[in-house]
C-alpha cells in the first residue's frame, strides 16, 4: 500500500492528512491506491462532517455530552486537520476539568475519573495542532499528575493462578483492581506526553503484558480462572497493543495478540472493536490492506443506526492507520512540558 501511495505522490500526498482532502477527480484511474483513497474520501468526509457538526458528543446520537466521546471526537478532528471544529471540544474539556486535575464521565458525574486519560490525549494533540497554547499544556500536566496519583488496588487479593495482582495499572474506579482498558488509556496518555519511561509507565507495560492470554489477545483483564484460560476480546486487545506500541515482544504474547486480531477482524466486526483492533495492528506495523473497506462498512452501519460521535471518532482515527498520532506519537516536535517552555 505504501509503495502504491509513493507512485502517485506527485499528486500532493506529502502530508498524510492532506490526502483526505484531495478531490476525487485528481485520483489516478490506474492506481489502486487512488481507488482506495477515493473510496476512503467518500465515507470519511461524511464521518468527519458529522463529527464536525456535532455540538454534543455522546455515546449515542441524541445522548448528552460525555468526556470520552468528546475527547475521541476532538482527537479525530485534530488528526484530520479540522482544527477549528476541534477547538470547541478541547475547550469544553478544559471547562470540565476538576481542581484535582481529573475529569469525570461527564459534566454531572465527577467520578469515576478514568476518562481523564482521553482528555490528556486530546489536549496533547490540541497544543500541537493549534499552535502552542499553554492552557492545554497546563491542563494535561494537571491531568497527568492526577493519573499518576491513582493506582489499581491489590491489597486484599490473594495471589492466584491468573495474573500478577501486584503489578499496578489503573482501575476503572479508584479503590478497585487494575484492568486492561483503563491501564491502556493511562499508559498511552503517559507515553504520548513524554512520560513513557516513568516507573508507572514501565509497571503498566509489565502489567498489560502479564494480562495477555497465553494464546494471544486479552479481555477486560482476567487470564486464567480456575484452570481455564478465558476468551480474548477484540477491543481490549487492540487498545492494549496500541498502548504497548513497539514494546519488545519477549514472551511472544504480543505477536500472538496481533495474530488474533489479524484472524478475527473483518468487514462485519463491530465498530469499536474494529477501530481499536486496527489501531492495535497499526501499532505493531500490521495494518491490514482491507482496513479501509472494513471501516467503510462500519461507518455505513454506524451512520444508519446511531451515528454515535464516539464510534465515528474511532473510525476516523483508525482510518489513519500508522499515521494516526495515537500510533505514531508524532504530534510534532512541540514541547511536552510547560516547564520546557517556561510556563
Amino acid at each position: 500500500m505504501r509503495g502504491q501511495w509513493a507512485a502517485c505522490r506527485w499528486y500532493l500526498f506529502d502530508d498524510p492528512h492532506e490526502r483526505l482532502l484531495v478531490p476525487a477527480r485528481l485520483a489516478s484511474p490506474a492506481c489502486t491506491a487512488c481507488d482506495d483513497r477515493t473510496d476512503r474520501m467518500s465515507y470519511l468526509e461524511v464521518v468527519l462532517d458529522r463529527l464536525a457538526a456535532s455540538d454534543v458528543c455522546g455515546y449515542q446520537a441524541g445522548a448528552p455530552a460525555a468526556t470520552e466521546p468528546t475527547a475521541v471526537a476532538a482527537l479525530a478532528l485534530l488528526a484530520h486537520g479540522r482544527i477549528e471544529r476541534a477547538r470547541r471540544l478541547t475547550e469544553r474539556l478544559l471547562e470540565m476539568q476538576r481542581k484535582d486535575g481529573s475529569l469525570g464521565i461527564d459534566r454531572v458525574h465527577a467520578l469515576p475519573g478514568w476518562p481523564t486519560a482521553w482528555a490528556i490525549l486530546a489536549w496533547r494533540a490540541a497544543q500541537s495542532s493549534q499552535g502552542f497554547d499553554p492552557a492545554y499544556v497546563l491542563a494535561y500536566e494537571r491531568g497527568r499528575d492526577w493519573l499518576l496519583g491513582v493506582a489499581g488496588d491489590s491489597g486484599d487479593i490473594v495471589q492466584w493462578e491468573g495474573h500478577d495482582v501486584h503489578l499496578r495499572g489503573w482501575p476503572w474506579v479508584v479503590g478497585t483492581h487494575s484492568w486492561v482498558e483503563p491501564t491502556s488509556l493511562a499508559l498511552l496518555a503517559l507515553r504520548l506526553t513524554g512520560r513513557g519511561d516513568s516507573p508507572r509507565a514501565r509497571e503498566a507495560t509489565a502489567m498489560l503484558e502479564n494480562r495477555l492470554l497465553p494464546d494471544g489477545g486479552c479481555n477486560y483483564g482476567n487470564t486464567i480462572v480456575f484452570g481455564q484460560a478465558l476468551r480474548p476480546h477484540l477491543q481490549p486487545t487492540g487498545l492494549a497493543l496500541l498502548a504497548l506500541g513497539n514494546q519488545a515482544d519477549t514472551t511472544d504474547r504480543i505477536g500472538r495478540s496481533a495474530e488474533y486480531l489479524q484472524r478475527e477482524l473483518n468487514d462485519r466486526t463491530t465498530t469499536a472493536s474494529l477501530s481499536y483492533g486496527l489501531l492495535g495492528l497499526a501499532a505493531r506495523g500490521a495494518y491490514p490492506d482491507k482496513a479501509n473497506a472494513w471501516l467503510r462498512a462500519a461507518a455505513d452501519r454506524t451512520l444508519a443506526r446511531d451515528a454515535s460521535s464516539y464510534k465515528l471518532g474511532l473510525i476516523a482515527l483508525a482510518a489513519l492507520g500508522p499515521d494516526c498520532p495515537l500510533v505514531s506519537g508524532n504530534w510534532d516536535a512541540a514541547p511536552t512540558s510547560a516547564v520546557e517552555v517556561g510556563v
Binding site: A66, D153, N219
Partner: protein
C-alpha cells in the same frame, strides 16, 4: 478519592419512587413478626408461586408458555397496560461459540411480544459486564438481528444517563446506586437470566442477572465496585433497591461446570416464570441440585425479598422434583457444601 462507591448524587424524585419499595419491605417484615409464620406462609404461597414448563424449545410456542406462566403465577396483566416494561437479558460476554452463556434471543422476543400484547411499552436493556463494545455483545448473541426483526428498541445500560438512588438493602457499605434512567423509569423490570452455574456463588438466576442494570461507565468492566462490596451482598442490595421485578428464566439450553462464562452446555428444555425473583431462584437452585439456604445471596434475600423455603413457594406447571437434574460444579472450596446431596465436580 479513596472511596469504593461512586459519589452520591441524590435525585429526590427518583428516591421517592423507591422509598415505597423500601417501605413495603419494612412493612412486610413487621407484619411477619406480628402475625406469625403460618399466616406469612400462606401469604407467600399466594404471592410467590413459580411456574415450570418442560420440553421447551427456542423454536417452539414460547409466547404461549410465558403467558401461561404469568397467568398461573398471578400476574395481573391489566395493571401493565400503557406502562413501561424493561426486559433485562443476560449478555455478559456473548460469543457464538458458547450459546449456553447468554439468554437466547427467542426468549427475549417472546417475552416482549407477550408484554406488547398486554399493551405495555417494552424496551430491552442490558449493560454487559465484561465487554465495553455492547454492539459486539448484541451481534455475537444474535440479539441484534432478533430485536431488529421484532422492532424492539435496545438500551445500552452501560452508557445510559444515570440517577442516584438510596440503597434499600444495606448489606453492603454502598450508600446507594447509580441506576440507568430506563431502570428508574420502568414500571416493571423483567429479569431474563440464563440457567447456569457460577464459580464463585454456586449458581445465578433472576437476582444476579440484575447486576447487569448497573452502568459500567460508573462501576467499570467488570463492575468491580460491586465485587469489592461483596457479590452476595450487592446482589441483595441491588434487588432490594430496584422497582418491581419479575422473571422468566431461559433454562432451555443451560450451562453447568465452570459457569458463568466457561461452562459446558446442559440441555434442560425448561422455562421458569415467577413474580417473585427470590422464589424463582430458590426453585431454580433446587432443580439444579442446590440447597437454596446455602447460597449466600439467597440466604440474605430469603424472608426479606421473598421466600426460599420449599413449603413457602407455590408450584405451578411441573413440579421441580420431576425436572430435577443436578448440575456439575468445578471443585472449588467456595462451592463445597452448597448441594442438597452429594457433590458433583468437573
Amino acid at each position: 478519592m479513596s472511596t469504593l462507591a461512586p459519589e452520591r448524587k441524590p435525585e429526590t424524585q427518583q428516591d421517592g419512587q423507591f422509598d415505597r419499595r423500601a417501605l413495603l419491605v419494612g412493612v412486610g417484615a413487621a407484619a411477619a413478626a406480628a402475625v406469625g409464620v403460618p399466616l406469612l406462609r400462606r401469604a407467600w404461597a399466594d404471592k410467590a408461586s413459580v411456574f415450570i414448563a418442560r420440553n421447551q424449545r427456542y423454536d417452539g410456542p414460547l409466547e404461549q408458555t410465558i403467558r401461561d406462566g404469568l397467568t398461573a403465577t398471578g400476574f395481573d396483566h391489566a395493571l401493565i397496560r400503557g406502562r413501561k416494561v424493561l426486559l433485562k437479558p443476560n449478555l455478559v460476554e456473548p460469543t457464538k461459540k458458547c450459546p449456553q452463556m447468554t439468554t437466547h434471543p427467542a426468549v427475549v422476543v417472546a417475552v416482549a411480544n407477550v408484554f406488547r400484547n398486554f399493551g405495555a411499552e417494552v424496551v430491552v436493556g442490558e449493560g454487559p459486564g465484561h465487554m465495553r463494545d455492547t454492539e459486539m455483545a448484541l451481534v455475537e448473541s444474535g440479539m441484534q438481528d432478533a430485536l431488529d426483526e421484532a422492532g424492539l428498541r435496545f438500551v445500552d445500560l452501560n452508557y445510559s444517563q444515570t440517577g442516584w438512588i438510596k440503597n434499600a438493602g444495606r448489606a453492603t457499605v454502598l450508600d446507594g446506586f447509580h441506576f440507568p434512567r430506563e431502570v428508574l423509569e420502568a414500571d416493571l423490570i423483567v429479569s431474563l437470566p440464563k440457567m447456569k452455574t457460577h464459580h464463585w456463588v454456586g449458581y445465578t438466576g433472576a437476582l444476579k442477572n440484575l447486576y447487569g442494570v448497573i452502568p459500567g461507565i460508573k462501576y467499570g468492566w467488570p463492575k468491580n465496585v460491586l465485587h469489592y462490596a461483596g457479590i452476595p451482598q450487592s446482589i441483595y442490595d441491588i434487588n432490594a433497591t430496584l422497582p418491581k421485578t419479575i422473571s422468566v428464566v431461559d433454562g432451555i439450553l443451560a450451562m453447568e461446570g465452570d459457569g458463568p462464562i466457561m461452562g459446558s452446555a446442559k440441555p434442560m428444555g425448561l422455562i421458569l416464570v415467577g413474580t417473585n425473583n427470590t422464589a424463582v431462584d430458590a426453585t431454580l437452585g433446587r432443580i439444579m441440585g442446590f440447597e437454596p439456604s446455602k447460597i449466600e445471596y439467597l440466604n440474605l434475600a430469603g424472608g426479606r425479598l421473598g421466600p426460599i423455603g420449599d413449603g413457602l413457594i407455590g408450584q405451578r406447571g411441573e413440579r421441580w422434583r420431576d425436572v430435577e437434574n443436578p448440575f456439575t460444579l468445578i471443585d472449588a472450596p467456595q462451592l463445597r457444601g452448597l448441594r442438597r446431596r452429594g457433590v458433583l465436580v468437573t
